[in-house]
Amino acid sequence: MILRPSTLALLLISLLVTGFSLTAGFHAMGIHDRWDPASGSEEQLELERKTYLISTIMNYVFPLELLSLILLLYTADELHPLFTGAMCAAGTLAVNPYGYPALLVKIVTALLAGVWLIMNHLDSRAFDYPLIRTKYLFLTLMMPLLVVECVLLFSYFSGIKPDIITSCCGSLFSHDSPTLSGDLISLPPVIMQALFFSAMALALLSGILFYRTGRYGQLFSALAAVTFPVSIASIISFIGLYIYELPSHHCPFCLLQKEYHFIGYFLYVPLFIGAVSGISARVISPFSANPSLRRIVPDTRRYLTLVTIICYLLFTLIATVEMIISPLKL
């Protein structure tokens, strides 16, 4: 177990998020089952009051989930000097089998949390809560994921043992201790470059087309969703190499270090926001069938598309500038 302010903060946040989400989810199930806007009964009034509670809780808890994703990356990076051979967060997360699953589940919940917040915002703009059942069903489905995340995070941090000098057995070298590698499997750079730039170009083009004409919205969202994993694979495959100026260093985490001016945060944050907006634009499109949302949904979709275009452009710009100014040529 590592007692560090940042790990304690992460565990505290995880407990808060899970505890509050479970409470909200519990109420959400009741609302999902018994919601009847036509009724004026005492029960319906009580349920309406509870929707305020759930919205308030989730509006508070889900941004925390997004912030704590950044803190998890930062903490994993900060802990690396404690382990033999760990050079960055990649090594720290590999210390025990819970590290990477915890990070992956956290990324997925953070993505879903973003989508949920956008849905909730949309719902609050209409006068008759048209999305109440949908968004509470979504919330209830997210519950197990949040619990899994909390358990993984606890298992990860409680299973961590730093390699330190102990007075009895001394050096680590008396027995062969395995060292941790900082590299991940990467795809060939040339193929990835072609794939990345074409995916990005298509996503941006379809985004602009949708923004201006209102057509090809579904295509845009699909492309935006695909571009997210492609971009992360590209960071591992070639963007990282240019930043590290090393043809052999494929690491998505060293970018977060001070030596590289924390450039990773400037790449990952826009990419993440872009992906959430792009995916949400697709998720909310069927809601325009609701009479009270008929005018709000298209506006929101256009707005989300604009956010994705700006964020993805920013990501591409930073990556391209790094590739151009880097002394490394592949």
Binding site: I2, L3, R4, P5, S6, L8, A9, L10, L12, I13, L16, F20, R49, Y52, L53, T56, I57, Y60, L64, L67, S68, L71, Y74, E78, P81, L82, T84, S124, P162, D163, I164, I165, C168, G170, S171, L172, F173, S174, D176, T179
Partner: protein
């Protein structure tokens, strides 16, 4: 967009004026809030500044130290080990080190004695740290005795006193010549305390260490990185333990805040009732509560952090130093170098503001969903 901004501004203004109306109550809450943030921030700043100092001190340590272990205890190492280690490929230099501790029964202090020929020049001379000079009340040019295992004490003349700025490393240090060192401790010939190994390529360190361990199974190679890690872990552990203890204080503060937020006065209930009856919606009241929370949390956070900064970096953290620094008769005096980064502030925010806000969510919702009719009648 403009209308939303205006709504937010109006509600913020109302929140501020309502806080002002109950200023006695809110100031006491603010005071406790500031205190909690101050204590936690001081702890975080202090631990990270100590870790930084430790890292700086260890920066010049040798890459690898080789000790010899017998029956689980550290023993003196034969000089020949050094020659054999020097022949390992990749080793640049092996230095024999002679050092030890001297217990001064006169004042109960422990000195670190190192044998080195350069700063003292000749036999009979010594370079001493400012802590030693203070406790022994000696100046440059004066003599001072140290007891030896034999009958004759060793008389040393102070040649140099290290400046106060090097206190962290040198407060308890005495540097004497190799011959004086042997006499002082009756040190066996052909043995040294340990070996400092320098390696040409740092990446080969683990391999070199493994080779040394297999060459001499009774030896214990210790890497600089291991020492650094151990120090970091010790400070983390001390800081973490203190933080855990302090979290109970945070918890009591949360209970206090919860209690505050739940126990609405009749006057407040009436106020919310009136607001709702003149057309405020539940979401407006929630927004009001949100702005009230911000108006308390933000100043509390800033004030707490600023006070903690002064406490740690200008006053050297008198509240925590005893618990976290460790102790010694000749404790070095040092001023911590101010370092605060965003991550510390983020962690601090997570540990203080978030729990506070959490404690007030459900009470705020209860307040906001009060039935106006019932509230005004009460």
């Amino acid at each position: 967009m403009i209308r939303t901004g205006e709504r937010q501004r109006n509600i913020l203004e109302f929140a501020l004026s309502s806080l002002h109306r109950r200023r006695g109550r809110n100031l006491s809450l603010l005071a406790m809030y500031v205190l909690i943030i101050f204590v936690l921030a001081s702890l975080l700043f202090f631990v990270s500044a100590l870790k930084r100092e430790a890292a700086l001190v260890l920066h010049d340590a040798p890459d690898l130290i080789v000790q010899r272990m017998i029956a689980g205890r550290q023993e003196l190492i034969p000089v020949e080990y050094g020659a054999e280690i020097a022949s390992i490929r990749g080793v640049a230099e092996v230095r024999s080190r002679l050092w030890g501790y001297y217990f001064d029964s006169w004042n109960g202090a422990n000195y670190t004695v190192i044998a080195h020929n350069s700063p003292t020049g000749t036999e009979g001379g010594a370079a001493i740290g400012s802590g030693v000079a203070r406790s022994r009340k000696v100046k440059v040019g004066e003599m001072f005795p140290l007891r030896t295992p034999g009958t004759e004490p060793l008389l040393l003349e102070v040649k140099t006193i290290f400046p106060d700025s090097s206190d962290l490393r040198a407060a308890d240090l005495i540097i004497i010549s190799t011959a004086d060192f042997s006499r002082l401790f009756n040190f066996p010939v052909g043995k040294v305390t340990d070996l400092a190994v320098t390696v040409t390529n740092v990446r080969e360190l683990p391999t070199v260490a493994a080779k040394i361990a297999s060459l001499h199974p009774d030896s214990r190679p210790i890497l600089k990185s291991e020492i650094q890690r151990t120090y970091q872990s010790i400070f983390d552990w001390r800081g973490g333990m203190t933080l855990l203890i302090l979290l109970s204080a945070v918890l009591s503060f949360i209970i206090f805040a919860w209690d505050r937020a739940t126990g609405l006065s009749a006057e407040e209930r009436k106020e919310i009732g009136i607001l709702k009856s003149i057309g405020w919606e539940t979401s407006d009241v929630l927004l009001l509560k949100f702005w009230e929370g911000c108006a308390i949390s933000l100043p509390a956070f800033l004030l707490g952090v600023i006070l903690a900064y002064g406490h740690v970096f200008f006053l050297s953290a008198p509240l925590f130093s005893q618990a976290l620094k460790g102790w010694s008769i000749l404790y070095p005096r040092f001023q911590l170098v101010p370092v605060v980064d965003i991550s510390q502030l983020l962690v601090l925010f997570f540990l203080t503001v978030i729990p506070y806000t959490t404690a007030t969510i459900i009470p705020s919702w209860r307040t906001a969903t009060i039935d106006p009719d019932a509230a005004m009648r009460s």
